[in-house]
């Protein structure tokens, strides 16, 4: 089998999917999950402040 038959690994994408699933399984408040999803799927750079805002719902 050619090694090129393997598929590419979108590692950040895979990690994101598992992360969100794990948060839900851990019963993280839905609003926090939504804010994190919004932040992590946007093109804007993730900063300490933006991550805090998402986690602690400080942007509200």
């Amino acid at each position: 089998m050619s090694t090129q038959e393997s598929t590419s690994a979108d590692i950040p994408g895979q990690t994101y999917d598992k992360f969100i699933a794990q948060l839900k399984a851990d019963e993280m408040p839905a609003e926090v999950v939504d804010q994190l999803k919004k932040l992590l799927s946007s093109d804007a750079p993730i900063t300490d402040a933006s991550l805090r805002a998402a986690l602690f719902l400080e942007s509200k």
Binding site: T3, Q4, S8, I11, P12, K18, F19, D26, R52, L55
Partner: protein, 813 residues
């Protein structure tokens, strides 16, 4: 994603003007060191990413693309430095041209700006790792687990994953840190409230019981339930206590609390924990090295938090923030033992710091009474003492210097200064002298103070609850991310390790067919162990040779790229990488690239012509898909033997009377061209273990072999009864022999350095016949269409040229 069609390079790095037609196939660039191979690699990377790895990163401070990517003569004209790259996009079935100038590396001109094309180019642009140099290759294999993790994470684009993990960890840690002081504050607020109500347990029932007892004295209705907004002094507003007077009962209770706080501090000063912390601090102090490390650790921790842009917060040197953070993290790692020691000492000092906080709070409460008393007591000494205690507690908490920390602990542990003691006594005496309040006044005072303290308690409880919630959420998020990333990475690393082992076994099938490998990730590290002939798993550098390690580096890179890009791994530049692979497995490496990566176009550079030949004979690179640089100079950049008329160059040099230049050109060209001729004719060349072949090593075999081929051709023609053909070949052989004689080639083959000197000593008139004779001799190995070569069968069936004007059958009847 892409395949390289063509690149035009102008005034870029060491290149003045160069066009390469890759034809979307594998392409080899060969030339001695310093002939411009890496300039082409840089140009490819620049065209696709706008960056040049070799001009950025560690060890390149002071070097920039804008200042140093242009050719040295165009350093003030960066717009002249341009690269035009044409790429084929197999998935779209079209081509695109990208033109970048060094002046505006991030503003390329792209011939097709359709979203699909731009999407592919954007993907390529974030993958500078399609270029692999030997320096990077070896970092995958023999670096420390921490460095390897960084390299592999960088290659797999895990930086984003790791950065997010670090950010979540930092937030979780800082959220956790917020809880401690608030918890301590809540404890103080609780004690104050208990004191105000003269109760020992903080329960709703006890608070209500105490409050209602006082309310009854005042004729107020009892409070039925204690809710979050309940006021203990509800109904008392009109008869509010005079805040300018001192409530005697409460003040006495608070004086008692101060006494308890002093006792608590004394106990903590004398505790085993504090004693042990002091001993460890003394050890740190007496070990200057340890103290320096402790200081460094503090500095580095602060520095990490202060890296906000692309300059060092200490010296303003320009750094990429991620590189600087990684650099600091590496230094912090080296201080791990000191860090652990400091953390344990800090934990031991925590109870002492908490008792100082209670002590300060009690002092503050008593000090306020002093100011309310009539006449007021001068509390400046008490205020200064409380402030000093706070400052010393901060020194202990910050732990910046061991002597300063020890000094602050000593001050904190000292008995209350006489001035403060006097102030306290004065206040205590004045409070004692206040007439005893009536039951109603005492109840009113108590309810007023209790309500104030209840509000403080509620406020700090709320802040503590919020901090605990933030801490729990941040921890949950960090744990979830750690779990998710670990699961993904373990899967990725397992796949990479298996594929790596397959690839490595392929090129070492002769003796390491059962080779296995393990990549073991742990926090920030990546262990790498490989099988050594079934004797166990060891780090690659333990027993394998350097050549084998280089082979591992290449295989690991290919496995990682395959994992990263999958079917998008269509283009890779291996910059002098193959050179380092052990010589016994070069052909296997060529086969590996050709067979396992049939859809990947490799651009390979090497300074070893033998490697170039291996690539050709293994079918990795077609004969026409290569550049063989002969030299480089600052004015013209790299030059290929095939792209100029050498004989015209020699004549031009002789016309200028420059025999030295003409002789050097002739000698270098003959070394090159006779090597090519030997390859084309499959002439047997005596093996040299150092691979430093010279003119004599190639010329004689080339001449002798062509004569042999002519003879074989004649024998073949005779066997088939073609006497005319045999006669033609015989005539050709005689013409060839005459040219050999005229060139006097044997005479010039005694000693390379002597020849060179002898030629250089000739006059232009004497040297001209020599160069003409060699020109004729070289022509004898060529047709007008190109070089003569033998067919690929073994033994060769014919001697021929591309246009078939010459086609001598070598097979007898």
């Amino acid at each position: 994603m892409i395949r390289a069609e063509k690149i035009v390079i102008k005034d870029f790095r060491g290149i003045r003007d160069l066009t390469i037609d890759f034809k979307t196939k594998n392409f080899a660039i060969c030339g001695p060191n310093g002939t411009g191979k890496s300039g082409i690699v840089d140009a490819l990377e620049f065209a696709l990413t706008g960056g040049i790895s070799r001009l950025s990163g560690e060890g390149t401070q002071g070097i920039s693309i804008k200042a140093h990517a242009p050719h040295v003569d165009s350093r003030n004209k960066p717009d002249n430095a341009r690269v035009v790259f044409t790429a084929s996009l197999p998935t779209l079935g079209k081509s695109v041209t990208i033109e970048r100038s060094v002046n505006q590396p991030n503003a390329p001109t792209i011939s097709d700006t359709s979203p699909a094309v731009l999407s592919i180019l954007a993907t390529v642009a974030v993958h500078p790792e399609f270029v692999l140099s030997r320096r990077e290759l070896i970092q995958y294999v023999v670096s420390t687990p921490g460095d390897r993790a960084k390299e592999v994470q960088s290659l797999l684009r895990l930086d984003a994953v790791e950065n997010l993990r670090q950010m979540l960890q930092k937030i979780a840690n800082s959220a956790k840190k917020e809880v401690g002081p608030l918890s301590s504050e809540k404890g103080i607020a609780q004690n104050n409230l208990l004191s105000a109500l003269e109760i020992t347990q903080l329960t709703k029932e006890k608070v209500l019981e105490a409050a209602n007892k006082r309310r009854k004295v005042l004729g107020l209705d009892p409070i039925a339930a204690l809710e979050s907004g309940t006021s203990l002094k509800d109904g008392l507003a009109a008869k509010a206590a005079d805040k300018t007077t001192v409530p005697k009962v409460q003040a006495l209770s608070d004086l008692g609390q101060l006494k308890e706080a002093i006792e608590s501090l004394r106990k903590n000063v004398e505790s085993e924990k504090t004693k042990s912390a002091l001993e460890r601090l003394e050890a740190l102090k007496s070990n200057a090295h340890m103290e320096t490390l402790a200081k460094q650790e503090r500095l580095l921790k602060s520095a990490t938090e202060l890296v906000l842009n692309d300059t060092c917060p200490v010296c303003d040197t320009e750094w990429a923030p991620t590189t600087l953070k990684a650099h600091i993290a590496e230094k912090l790692k080296a201080l791990e033992a000191t860090t652990n020691e400091v953390a344990e000492v800090e934990a031991q000092l925590q109870p002492l710091l908490e008792s100082v906080a209670s002590y300060r709070d009690a002092l503050s409460t008593v000090k306020k009474y002093g100011q309310k008393l009539k006449p007021a007591v001068d509390t400046s000494a008490m205020e200064a003492y409380a402030t000093a205690l706070g400052d010393h507690a901060k020194v202990v908490r910050d732990f910046t210097q061991v002597p300063a920390t020890l000094n602050s602990i000593a001050t904190i542990s000292s008995p209350m200064p006489a001035g403060v003691e006097g102030c306290k006594s004065q206040i205590a005496a004045a409070i004692a002298a206040i007439p005893d309040p009536t039951d109603q006044d005492a109840a009113r005072d108590s309810l007023t103070v209790a309500q104030e303290r209840l509000e403080t308690y509620r406020s700090v409880s709320l802040r503590l609850k919020q901090a605990e919630e933030r801490g729990a959420i941040a921890k949950k998020a960090y744990d979830a991310y750690l779990k998710a990333s670990t699961e993904v990475l373990n899967g990725i690393y397992k796949g990479v390790a298996d594929e790596f082992a397959d690839l490595y076994s392929y090129i070492n099938s002769d003796d390491e067919k059962s080779f296995t490998a393990k990549l073991t990730p742990s926090m920030g590290k990546l262990g790498f162990d490989v099988d050594f002939y079934g004797r166990g798993d060891f780090p690659p550098g333990a027993y394998h040779s350097e050549g084998h390690q280089d082979g591992m580096g290449l295989c690991l890179y290919l496995a990682l790229m395959n994992r990263l890009l999958g079917k998008g791994f269509t283009f890779a530049v291996l910059d002098d990488v193959l050179m380092s692979v052990d010589s016994g497995h070069r052909r296997e490496v060529c086969n590996l690239l050709k067979e396992k990566f049939p859809d990947t176009q490799f651009v390979l550079t090497t300074h070893d012509p033998i490697w170039l030949k291996h690539m050709q004979t293994a079918g990795l690179v077609a004969g026409s898909n290569q550049l063989h640089f002969r030299t480089w100079n600052v004015d013209e950049g790299p030059t290929d033997w095939n792209d100029r008329d050498v004989w015209a160059e020699i004549d031009a040099a002789l016309e200028k009377g420059d025999v030295h230049d003409a002789a050097a050109t002739l000698r270098h060209y003959l070394e090159y061209i006779f090597g090519e001729i030997c390859n084309n004719l499959r002439a047997p060349v005596p093996f040299r273990s150092d691979a430093r072949y010279q003119l004599g090593d190639f010329a004689s075999p080339a001449i002798g072999h062509l004569k042999k081929l002519f003879k074989n051709g004649m024998d073949s023609a005779t066997s088939w009864g073609n006497t005319t053909v045999a006669d033609d070949i015989d005539a050709a052989e005689k013409r060839f022999t005459a040219k050999v004689t005229a060139s006097n080639v044997e005479q010039w083959q005694i000693n390379a350095s002597v020849h060179y000197n002898e030629w250089a000593n000739l006059s232009p008139q004497d040297f001209k016949p020599v160069s003409d004779a060699f020109h004729e001799l070289i022509r004898a190995f060529h047709c007008d269409c190109g070089p003569l070569y033998v067919s690929s069968e073994l033994p060769p069936q014919s001697l021929r040229c591309s246009c078939s004007k010459i086609n001598i059958n070598l097979k007898k009847k």
